[in-house]
Amino acid sequence: MSVLKDSIVELIRKTSAEIPDDVQQSLLASLKREQAGTIAESALKIIQRNIELAQSKSQPLCQDTGSVIFYVDAPRDFDQAGFEETAREAVSAATKAGYLRQNSVDSITGRNDGTNVGPGAPVLHFHQHRSPEIKVRMMLKGGGCENVGAQYSLPIEKMKANRDLDGCRKVILDAVLQAQGKGCGPGILGVCIGGDRATGYEHSKHQFLRKIDDRNPNPELDRLEQDILETGNSLGIGPMGFGGKTTLLGVKIGVLNRVPASFFVSVSYMCWAFRRQGVTLSSEGKIQQWLY
């Protein structure tokens, strides 16, 4: 087994079995907020027990180990094709080891060959940069939360959502309302204002690489993030949609330019079982540092 393959399998294992520290802190804070004796509190306690068990047994936090998505930042002499081949082998090995469910299905025949490798699986995003660092981040995004994502094309008259930040606010909150507990809340929103239908969703997912407790450097977007977090949590949807004080753990908003005729707001929802992790690698592919 190559060093790089070992490293990617280990990255997948840790991503699948261990909740990142920023998410854990946020969940613990939400447990304190919920009223004692409610089913919302019970739900969060089970979630905490689940986090401990998954970590100690090195088994998936959630059985839906989701779409396997890699984000690779690397210098220009980096072997991108070689990485892709090795990543596919690593995904297949991680599936055999039970870190990933057999989760990739032929969309026409419904056949599941049990490898998690196929057209578009895993997903790989490469970004070349000028630093010598090799950074590999990944996410496992389950289907339940992916299904409650939504894309809005502004203006939307019946929602009184115009092409401005207030219009964005209205549709983002509508996404929270429609999701209820179906995305396994408390959830985290990744939002993209602008872009096209493809890049909008892609960029909305990219927001999940930010830490839950970070703040948006753009003051207007920061205000919008904090506002949606507070307003979303005032709706009473609560953990799992059982009712309660914690509906959202975080809101992360990015922006892309758009063409004058289009104004998309793309909302991705991440469940509480927020599986993302990252590493920096040596040029031989050895893990040097964990990023979350």
């Binding site: 979630i47 689940n50 088994q59 959630c62 469910r101 049990g114 909150l173 309302l177 949609g241």
Partner: protein, 191 residues
């Protein structure tokens, strides 16, 4: 906390109400998208499987086989139930189900079937795959694994103290409806 043990009789099911926290012990069968569509299209259950007075669990588990050939559930939380809304009501009626375990709740047709035929919707904690897998003590059998793939197969599971919350009861009440209506009203005040 209410203990619900097999057999799951209509009387026990009718006694449950929205908001009850329940621990289930007995046999449950997994069934999700492929199974529901198949049964709704007139497909038959395998001879060894009966849903009569039974519980179906919307779940696609991660299952490994040990050296002795025994199945071991590695992770087994619920999947989103609303996808089965087009099928569930009729399957409750036709096969005599007493309980459906899933997450996210279901719609009016399922709620009506629960009321008419004596069934409840149990909400398990989405994503709590390890806590729930610990409650699965044995996996005696699997059906349709080849046809539908592992996550979509019917897994027969013996569970013990499997924790759920009743969010739709057999008296026409739905916590999901209640929370949705309240959140619509709350949001209207904030727009």
């Amino acid at each position: 906390m209410i203990s619900l043990t097999a057999p799951f009789t209509e009387e026990k099911i009718r006694a449950l109400k929205v908001g009850d926290e329940v621990e289930i012990s007995g046999v449950v069968f997994t069934g999700r998208d492929a199974v529901h569509k198949y049964l709704h299209e007139g497909g038959a259950l395998p001879a060894e499987v009966s849903f009569q007075n039974g519980i179906v669990y919307h779940c696609g588990p991660v299952v490994l086989r040990d050296e002795q050939g025994a199945w071991k559930v590695v992770a087994a939380g619920p999947t989103t139930s609303i996808r089965e809304e087009p099928y569930q009501g009729e399957i409750i009626k036709k096969f005599g189900l007493r309980g459906v375990i899933g997450k996210g709740g279901m719609g009016d047709r399922t709620l009506a079937a629960c009321q008419e035929f004596g069934c409840v919707y149990f909400h398990a904690i989405g994503g709590a795959a390890q806590v729930l897998a610990e409650c699965i003590k044995r996996v005696p059998n699997v059906h349709f694994q080849k046809e539908f793939g592992s996550p979509e197969a019917i897994w027969e599971m013996v569970v013990e103290k499997f924790p759920v919350v009743v969010t739709m009861d057999s008296h026409g009440n739905s916590l999901h409806k209640k929370v949705y209506d309240a959140s619509v009203a709350a949001l209207a005040k904030r727009l």
